[in-house]
C-alpha cells in the first residue's frame, strides 16, 4: 500500500463572476491542513462551497487565488491528467461506466496508466474483495445489474484501484437508504483502519460528519470556514452562533455519535444452536438477568431470539421457536445510530456482529443510557 499525503489549503478562494461573495459555490480564503492518513469532513448547508473546495483538489475546478498542496507540491504545478490519476474520486451518483463490466470499471485508472491486462484484472479482483464483493460473482456483471449499495462499493473500489494517497468523496452515501448508508460508513471506517488514506469527505449531514471525521470543517454560505477541529471539540465548543445552530440543539444526543459500539464493554449473549436439548438451555436462560437466548447457526451467526417462555420443556430447539431479530451492529456503529435503531425496532438489545456476521455480544438501551448520564 502506498503512503498517504497531507492536503493543505492555503488562502484558497473561488469567486464566480457577476455576483459578490454571497454566491453559491464560492469559497472565500479557505486555509486548513488535513494531516496524512486522516479523514477530514467538509460539512455545511448547500451552496457553502464544500463541493467546490473538494473539486479544486483534483482541479475539476481551478481556484481564483491561493494554492492547494498535496504533500509539499502545489497541485497547480502538476500535470492535471497525472494529478487526477493519483487521486481517488467518489461521487454520490457513482458514475460507473454502464458499458463496462464491474471489473473493467474498477480497473479504470490502472488501464489508463497502462498496466498489463493480467495485472489490471488481479488488482480489480483484489479491490472487489476489499469492498466485500465476491470477484467471481461480480467482476463480469454490468453496473445496471447492481443494487445501489453494490454500485457505491464498486465506486469506492474504482477510486482505490491505483492506490492513491488521497481520496476525495462527494456525498458518497447520499443516495442510498439509511440502513445501507450506515453499513457503507462502517465499511469505509474499517477500510480506513487498514489503508490510512488521506480522505476529504463532503456531506451536508452533520451526523455523518461527526461519525466519519477525524477532523470536521464546518462551512457556511459564502464559502467561509466557520470552524475546523475534531468533532468532539465542535460539539463541545461551537465557535459561533452559526455552528451551534448547524450542529443543532440536540448536541448531547449527538455526542453519542462520538462513541462507537466497539468502545463499549459488550454484554455477553446466551446462545444456543438449533437441535440443542431445550431442557439443557432453559437453566442457562434463567441464570441470566437478561432472560433471552439467542439462537445462532453453526458459524455463530444470529438466527433469532428465544424468549424464556417460548423454550419448550424438553426436546430439541427448532428454528421456528425463534422470533424477531434485533438490529445488527458493527464495531463502528455509533451509539447514536444504535440507540435510534433500537428505538425504531422497539427492542431492548441489539446484536454486535463481526466481519463474517458472527455474534460478538449485545448492546442494550441501558448500556447506552449509561454513557449519556453525566459522570
Amino acid at each position: 500500500m502506498g503512503t498517504a499525503e497531507r492536503v493543505v489549503f492555503e488562502h484558497v478562494s473561488k469567486r464566480y463572476p457577476g455576483t459578490g461573495t454571497g454566491n453559491p459555490g464560492a469559497v472565500e480564503d479557505l486555509s486548513l491542513e488535513v494531516p496524512a492518513g486522516k479523514i477530514c469532513v467538509l460539512v455545511g448547508p448547500s451552496g457553502c462551497g464544500k463541493t467546490t473546495s473538494l473539486k479544486m483538489v483534483n482541479r475539476l475546478i481551478e481556484p481564483t487565488s491561493g494554492r492547494i498542496l498535496i504533500g509539499d507540491t502545489d497541485v497547480a504545478r502538476r500535470d492535471v491528467i497525472e494529478l487526477r490519476r493519483s487521486i481517488g474520486y467518489v461521487i454520490q451518483q457513482v458514475g460507473l461506466f454502464p458499458h463496462q463490466t464491474v471489473g473493467e470499471n474498477v480497473a479504470t485508472v490502472p488501464r489508463l496508466l497502462g498496466w498489463e491486462p493480467a495485472r489490471q484484472r488481479a488488482r480489480a479482483a483484489e479491490l472487489l474483495e476489499l469492498v466485500g464483493l465476491d470477484p467471481g460473482r461480480y467482476a463480469g456483471r454490468y453496473p445496471t445489474a447492481l443494487s445501489g449499495g453494490e454500485r457505491q462499493r464498486v465506486g469506492v473500489a474504482r477510486a482505490l484501484a491505483a492506490d492513491p494517497p488521497v481520496l476525495l468523496m462527494d456525498e458518497p452515501f447520499g443516495a442510498v437508504d439509511p440502513i445501507v448508508r450506515e453499513r457503507l460508513q462502517n465499511e469505509l471506517l474499517r477500510l480506513q483502519e487498514e489503508l490510512a488514506k488521506t480522505i476529504i469527505f463532503v456531506t451536508h449531514d452533520i451526523d455523518e460528519a461527526i461519525k466519519m471525521g477525524d477532523l470536521v470543517a464546518v462551512m457556511q454560505v459564502g464559502g467561509h470556514l466557520a470552524q475546523f477541529g475534531p468533532p468532539a471539540e465542535i460539539l463541545a465548543n461551537p465557535a459561533s452562533e452559526f455552528v451551534a445552530r448547524f450542529v443543532g440543539a440536540d448536541r448531547g444526543l449527538k455526542r453519542l455519535a462520538l462513541v462507537r459500539v466497539g468502545e463499549l464493554e459488550l454484554r455477553e449473549a446466551t446462545t444456543a444452536r438449533p437441535g440443542e436439548d431445550a431442557a439443557a438451555v432453559r437453566p442457562r436462560a434463567a441464570a441470566d438477568s437478561f432472560p433471552y437466548v439467542l439462537l445462532v447457526d453453526e458459524a455463530n451467526r444470529p438466527i433469532g431470539w428465544l424468549d424464556e417462555r417460548r423454550i419448550p420443556a424438553s426436546g430439541p430447539l427448532v428454528v421456528d421457536h425463534a422470533e424477531a431479530e434485533s438490529p445488527l451492529f458493527d464495531r463502528h456503529t455509533t451509539l447514536k445510530d444504535a440507540l435510534s435503531m433500537l428505538l425504531e425496532a422497539g427492542v431492548q438489545a441489539g446484536i454486535v456482529v463481526g466481519g463474517a456476521g458472527a455474534v460478538e455480544g449485545l448492546v442494550t438501551v441501558e448500556m447506552i443510557m449509561e454513557r449519556v448520564r453525566p459522570a
Partner: protein, 217 residues
C-alpha cells in the same frame, strides 16, 4: 397476373440490379456516416456550430429528391457522383441528429467520473462517449439505410445506368410484373437491412441487454 416467365428470363438482370442497389446504398451510407461523424464531433461542444449543422442538414432533407438529382445531372453529368451526392446529403440529418443525441445523452456523472479518473479528452471520447452513443448511432444507421434504399430507386431518373431495382419500376410503368419486381425487391432489401443493423446493435451493446435482463433483487 404476374408474368413468372418474364421473371425467369430476367433473373440475371434482376440480380445485377440488386447488386447495384446495394452498392449505391452502401457507398452513400459509408460516406454519409464518415461526414456526419466528423460534423457531430466538431459541433458537439460548439452550440452555434451545432445549430448550423442540424439546420443545414435539415433543410437539405426537405429538397425534393427528383429536383436534386436533376440539378446534379447538370453539374456532374451522368457520373456516379450525380447519384451519390444527393443520397449522401439525405443521410446527413438522420445520422447527425442521432449521433448528437447519443453523445449528449451520456450522463453528467459518468463524464465527471471520467474526468476525475484522468481520461484525456480524446480517451474520454473514444472509450466512454462514443461507446455509450452506439445504440443511437446504430439507430441512425438503421433509419438511414431504409431511407437510402428507397431513394436509390429514384436515381433511375438520372439514366438507365442507375436506379438499382428502381430501374424496373421506371422501365415500363404499365407492365405490372416488372414494377412489382422493382418495388417489392426494394422493400425487401430495406427490411433486410433494418433487421441486420438491429442485430448489429444488440451485438455491439451487450451492456444494454443486461439492463433488460437485470435481476429483480
Amino acid at each position: 397476373m404476374i408474368d413468372w416467365g418474364w421473371i425467369a428470363d430476367h433473373i440475371g438482370a434482376i440480380a445485377g440490379r440488386l447488386g447495384q442497389h446495394i452498392e449505391l446504398t452502401a457507398i452513400a451510407l459509408v460516406v454519409g456516416f464518415a461526414i456526419s461523424l466528423a460534423l457531430s464531433l466538431w459541433s458537439l461542444r460548439r452550440p452555434r456550430a451545432k445549430t448550423l449543422v442540424i439546420g443545414i442538414s435539415g433543410i437539405l432533407f426537405t429538397i425534393p429528391s427528383l429536383a436534386l438529382f436533376a440539378a446534379f445531372t447538370s453539374i456532374t453529368g451522368l457520373s456516379l457522383l450525380t447519384a451519390e451526392i444527393p443520397l449522401v446529403l439525405y443521410t446527413l440529418v438522420i445520422y447527425v441528429r442521432n449521433m448528437l443525441v447519443g453523445l449528449e445523452a451520456v450522463p453528467a456523472d459518468v463524464l465527471e467520473a471520467a474526468d476525475a479518473s484522468g481520461f484525456r479528452p480524446r480517451e474520454r471520447l473514444l472509450r466512454i462517449e462514443l461507446p455509450l452513443a452506439i445504440p443511437l448511432i446504430v439507430s441512425g444507421l438503421r433509419l438511414a439505410s431504409v431511407s437510402t434504399i428507397g431513394l436509390v430507386t429514384i436515381t433511375s431518373t438520372i439514366g438507365d445506368a442507375f436506379g438499382g431495382l428502381g430501374f424496373f419500376i421506371k422501365e415500363r410503368p404499365f407492365f405490372l410484373t416488372e414494377v412489382l419486381v422493382g418495388a417489392v425487391g426494394s422493400i425487401a432489401l430495406a427490411l433486410a437491412a433494418d433487421a441486420a443493423f438491429a442485430r448489429l446493435q444488440r451485438r455491439l451493446t451487450p451492456w444494454a441487454a443486461a439492463r433488460t435482463a437485470v435481476d429483480p433483487r
